[in-house]
């Protein structure tokens, strides 16, 4: 056991580090609002030039095939690059979905001509992509979608007309293209009547509306489709095979599901160190120490598990659904730590004014944001199901929705 890179990995790390040092500002000492992501419009503006630089230097599409502009390297190299990039102010958020999910789906299902057309601009940051999957009535039951695709005429290459609504679409407001799954046959069984497309987000009939979250900001959108036309040439996969295509996309999502943001152990440890309770420093209080130890142990458990995953990747293995653990554990911890940090500040804990409370209100904003982390990208319940079914091999929940026409499945009023 050791923590050293292989010679190949080490060489790549050196190359990445020197690229970053020459081209980006380190987080430590850099613009604080950019470093923490507080300055969202600044981040957005900085994204395109940064992505272009990465692409020019060979750090975009690290795992993507060389023939489409990628580097053709193994996933561990992507991880190494990200480790290094994490030390710098490197705004890449708007490209995560496009490069992580949309372009890989295109590369699996689009024509050669389309691949050549779309991969390069996405890599260089010239075109932004979004993913149009979730629907209001769908939630965890992704295949329950109702956005309809009807053919305009009888020809084999007739256009498609899209009507319906998608939700939770990140970046829809500034995306150029999107991948879209629709229901083209309401009489087929649920998973059989879906068809998959890509489309221009500038198409007539698309309306994007921001969704305000419970925590205040609007990080997601609703996207409404009214008679939106898509040529059949932009269909990905066969008619009625949209579920299979979606699974390809989702395979890539699972790997991208991240860890919850701060506050984590370090922040609450610092708070405890600085907080005076009625009988001394909070860090000396046995109850506080008990909680701190629990969070440290869980945080280290995730960190050390990540080392194991990296080792597997370094050996060429693909990380499995075990990575669901990461979000499940860290989202809960995020909420617990946030609540506890508020409690340690006593009555002042309810105040959100960054100039008044500890760590610029990090615990308060964590308390507000954390419920979303327990839901987005797979709820706690879905993650436990994934672990139970795909890791442990336990039976699926009883499914009454896999046979019969989709049209006849019971639906609720919510």
């Amino acid at each position: 056991m050791d923590f050293t890179d292989t010679p190949e990995e080490a060489a790549f790390r050196v190359k990445a580090r020197s690229f970053l040092a020459e081209n980006a500002q380190p987080k430590a000492g850099g613009d604080r609002n950019l470093a923490t992501g507080a300055d969202k419009s600044g981040m957005l503006a900085a994204s395109r030039p940064w992505q272009a630089k990465k692409a020019a230097a060979g750090f975009a599409g690290i795992t993507m095939a060389k023939e489409y502009g990628g580097q053709g390297l193994s996933p561990i190299m992507e991880v190494i690059y990200r480790q290094e990039e994490a030390e710098f102010i490197a705004p890449r958020g708007v490209y995560e979905i496009g490069l992580g999910m949309c372009i890989p789906t295109m590369l699996a299902y689009a024509t050669e001509e389309q691949k050549q057309r779309y991969a390069g601009p996405a890599l260089r940051g010239e075109e932004i992509w979004c993913q149009l999957f979730s629907e209001p009535a769908g939630g965890s039951d992704l295949a329950g979608l109702r956005t309809r695709a009807d053919r305009d005429g009888d020809g084999d290459d007739a256009d498609w007309i899209i009507n319906g609504q998608k939700i939770w679409t990140s970046g829809a407001q500034f995306s150029d293209y999107g991948i879209l799954v629709t229901r083209s046959d309401f009489d087929a069984p649920k998973h059989k009547g879906l068809t998959f497309f890509f489309l221009s987000m500038k198409s007539p009939g698309i309306e994007v509306r921001p969704i305000r979250q419970a925590s205040g900001p609007a990080n997601f959108n609703e996207v409404y489709f009214t008679d939106v036309r898509i040529p059949d040439s932009q269909r990905l996969g066969a008619i009625g095979e949209g579920w299979k295509v979606s699974l390809t996309t989702l395979m890539n999502e699972r790997f991208a599901v991240g860890v919850a943001p701060p506050p984590d152990f370090e922040e609450v440890f610092d708070l405890a160190r600085e907080t005076e309770l009625e009988d001394g420093p909070a860090l000396d209080n046995a109850m506080v120490r008990d909680r701190l130890a629990d969070w440290y142990v869980r945080k280290q458990g995730l960190k050390n598990s990540h080392f194991r995953t990296m080792t597997a990747m370094s050996r060429g293995e693909t990380p499995g659904p075990e990575s669901s653990i990461n979000k499940l554990v860290s989202a809960t911890k995020y909420q617990e730590v946030s609540f506890f940090g508020m409690e340690l500040q006593e009555m002042l804990g309810i105040v959100t004014d960054p100039d008044t409370v500890a760590l610029d209100g990090l615990f308060q904003s964590g308390a507000l944001s954390s419920p979303g982390y327990r839901i987005a990208g797979g709820t706690d319940e879905i993650l436990r199901n994934i672990i139970a079914e795909r890791v442990l091999g336990l039976p699926q929940d009883v499914r009454l929705d896999k046979v019969g026409s989709f049209r006849d499945l019971p639906t609720g009023d919510k």
Binding site: R212, M347, V351, P371, E381, L400, G412
Partner: protein, 368 residues
Amino acid sequence: MNFEFDDDQRMLRDQARRFLLDKCPADVVRQTLEGEQPFDQDLWRQFAEMGWLGAAIPEEYGGSGMGHLELCVLAEELGRSLAPTPFASSIYLGSEALMVAGTEEQKQSYLPDIATGEAIWCLALSEGARPATATNTTATVSDGKLNGEKVPVADGDIAHKAIVIAKDGSGTGLFIVDLTGTGVERSAVETLDPTRSQAKLSFTNAPAERLGGDGWPLLEDIQDRAAVLLAFEQVGGAQACLEMAKDYAMGRYAFGRPIAGYQAIKHRLADMYVQIELARSNAYFGAWALSTDAAELPVAAATARISAVEAFNYASKENIQVHGGMGFTWEFNCHLYYRRARQTALVLGSLRRWKDRLINALSQRNAA
């Protein structure tokens, strides 16, 4: 054995619930949430007219003289409806403080205006992130003038009078200060629950009138009383969360059936129910102790508070979880309860300190 509210009290509950359903639906709460007003003056006026503000104030001081059990009944409904008013500050803390510690003259002078709603009161204790203790108190009164700073003070921006905890020559005392008078500066502070306003108060030689004797034991008695009343608000809020979550889960289908039929959801709702029932029963015991001035009040109040804080925290966060993505939108009301749960959890001091008080009280009882 009669450990339930009686028929009249239940009737009061039904009336209050109907009134609040009608006059305080979510869009009314949202007017305060969105900052259109610091609190709902219309509601406040109507509470006064119905005698709610003076529910526990004897008729001789202008109250409706119903009693503390009736006030508990009202508190549960206020919690359920998230009514954006300074009820807790003015009634649970202000009016209770005057009744516990006021001289006959002070009661005569101040209670009637509380009952009519003309005067809003608040309690100014916290001086920032440090735990509020006698030792930590730096606000001082000398020659009847108060100096110091208090933050946060719930409803400090809208109250007319404050009871301020400060030190004078004889130790810690409670002092009545006119917030509309001289020597007072105040500014609202932003909080996680904008439906309940909070402020920073700065006092520079503000005239201060002493209330009662040894301040710290009095303060703890007042807090115990407020803890019981607030526990009913929290139980009401938690119950509303359970009902929302249940209603949503019954109507929301996934994989061809209602999500309410999945054990992950069923058992979570069962756990919510269990926590709420325990909290409710503990609140009832607190109500009994409060209404009978029982020696058990310190233990009963801490028990009720801990139980209610935990039940409301759990119910409000798991309500969002049961709703999934929709529950995390601004448009759904789940976050209103989540915010209020956090506010009520902190406004009388942290769970940690109440657990400490509980164990202290139990130790003393066992030692006696």
